[in-house]
């Protein structure tokens, strides 16, 4: 197993880079990070639409969320593969296809995290903001979202873990991410599939488990701060704290 790592570690980490396109584990992490960053604004908008007071906004987005959550990610990838060339006018590569599918899929899942975060903020906060004369957008922007987004932080890290795991589906459309590279190494050494795929699993495990510990730490830190906020029910005090921080 050691000689396997010794021979192939660089190939597994970056693919054929710098003599070819970036691949391997680096591509996995890059793709997941990019997808999550691009999905964030979409998730925020969709999440706000999900709690919108206007039915015309709320209903179509609710329908979209239910449809996307009802089908597998692989289905979204197949649709992206089919639609993207028609939209952009030329053949799209595996990376952009995978990225678009992940952005749509994650955007919808993030929307639910945002919605839960907004609905988790006590109703009195919103009413107090409105009573102080802030309009709906301002109350959202200044009072609700800062509190909601903070409580979402652990969920965001967890979503990043899910996204890393989801990038493995790039294998199916021939994207040279970690799983694909592992399969290629397997065909090269041929007789040691058990070790190759164990190492692949171990790599994902180290990456995702490490991140999940970070999410856990964040959760604990947030839980420690929460009682302070609860002890002072006045809305003005935590707001003042936040602007200082």
């Amino acid at each position: 197993m050691i000689d396997l790592i010794h021979t192939y570690w660089l190939y597994f980490l970056v693919g054929q880079y710098p003599n070819g396109p970036l691949g391997g584990l680096a591509l996995t992490v890059l793709l997941a990070a990019l997808a999550l960053v691009l999905a964030l604004p979409i998730g925020l908008l969709l999440g706000l639409a999900r709690v919108s007071p206007f039915r015309a906004v709320r209903w179509p987005v609710t329908a979209l969320v239910h449809v996307v959550r009802g089908i597998p990610l692989l289905m979204v990838i197949f649709w992206a593969y089919f639609f993207l060339p028609g939209v952009t006018g030329h053949q799209t590569g595996q990376f952009s296809t995978m990225l678009m599918a992940l952005v749509v899929f994650d955007g919808v899942y993030l929307a639910e995290i945002v919605r839960a975060g907004i609905q988790g903020v006590p109703r009195g906060q919103f009413e107090a903001a409105r009573a102080l004369g802030l309009g709906y957008p301002r109350a959202m922007q200044r009072v609700i979202l800062p509190q909601a987004l903070r409580s979402m932080l652990p969920s965001l890290v967890n979503q990043f873990i899910s996204t890393i795991k989801e990038t493995s589906l790039g294998y199916i459309i021939g994207l040279t991410e970690a799983s694909f590279i592992a399969a290629q190494i397997n065909t090269q050494v041929f007789t040691r599939a058990t070790q190759v795929y164990l190492l692949l699993g171990l790599t994902y495990f180290v990456l995702c488990f490490g991140l999940s510990r970070i999410a856990h730490l964040l959760e604990r830190r947030l839980a420690r701060r929460a009682p302070v906020r609860a002890a002072r029910p006045s809305a003005a005090v935590p707001l003042a704290n936040e602007s200082n921080a």
Partner: protein
């Protein structure tokens, strides 16, 4: 581009392929569910066991499985694990319907890890005095679990378990990587045979959505019929 013509998928050969795929998907999900649920209960009990060694064992299982993508599990069970067997057995396996078995094993182990966590948090939601009262009345660990804790935990646990089943349904699609002839596999097959991508994908999407909505509806019904009692 040819006109969108769903009728092509509603009868004839392509229709038969797609429907076969749908039934393989359903069968896979059903088989996995039947095996994963008892395994999940066992692992949840392991994670709550009085012995520290057993608890650690349960945790290693859950964390080890959940932090690795399902695709890597599938690749391991299909390509990796048979490597450990003697050649004769291996050949027999690959000659048969091994992709379905490997897919079922990977999905069962994967789903069970998630279900175990739902069951565990359901059990933990029951106040510990219920457990202590059971023990004080002379029930053993297992009897207390079966007669006092689990019946109460069930109402809390079933809704997340149903949503885990929805995840399982969607996850069956990934089994296509090892060649299980399920819905996604047949949709891709129809696509390459007919170049009717939109129609084939529309059929598959509708099939996935229908089953997903049925599972979601079941969850909503259960939630109304058996509301969680606040203890």
């Amino acid at each position: 581009m040819p006109r969108f013509d769903l009728a092509l998928m509603l009868h004839g050969q392509y229709h038969d392929w797609l429907v076969t795929g749908l039934f393989v998907s359903l069968k896979l999900a059903a088989v996995v569910f039947v095996f994963a649920l008892p395994l999940a209960i066992a692992i949840a009990l392991l994670r709550l066991a009085p012995l520290r060694v057993l608890r650690a064992l349960g945790m290693v299982y859950v964390e080890g499985i959940r932090n690795v993508p399902l695709l890597a599990h599938l690749l391991f069970w299909y390509f990796g694990a048979p490597e450990l067997l003697p050649d004769a057995v291996k050949e027999r396996l690959y000659a048969g319907n091994f992709e379905f078995i490997a897919g079922a094993i990977a999905l069962t182990l994967y789903t069970a890890a998630y279900m175990a966590e739902d069951i565990r948090s359901g059990i933990r939601a029951i106040p510990v005095v219920q457990f202590e009262a059971g023990r004080a009345l002379g029930f053993g660990f297992l009897a207390t679990m079966r007669r006092i804790v689990l019946p109460q935990a069930l109402r809390i646990t079933v809704p997340p378990l149903i949503s885990q089943t929805l995840n399982l349904w969607k996850d069956t699609s990934i089994a296509t990587v090892i060649g299980v002839a399920e819905m996604m596999y047949q949709a891709a097959r129809v696509e390459s045979a007919s170049f009717r991508s939109a129609e084939a994908f529309a059929f598959a999407t509708a099939a996935y959505l229908t089953v997903s909505l049925a599972i979601t509806g079941l969850a909503a019904w259960y939630h109304r019929r058996f509301p969680v009692r606040t203890i």
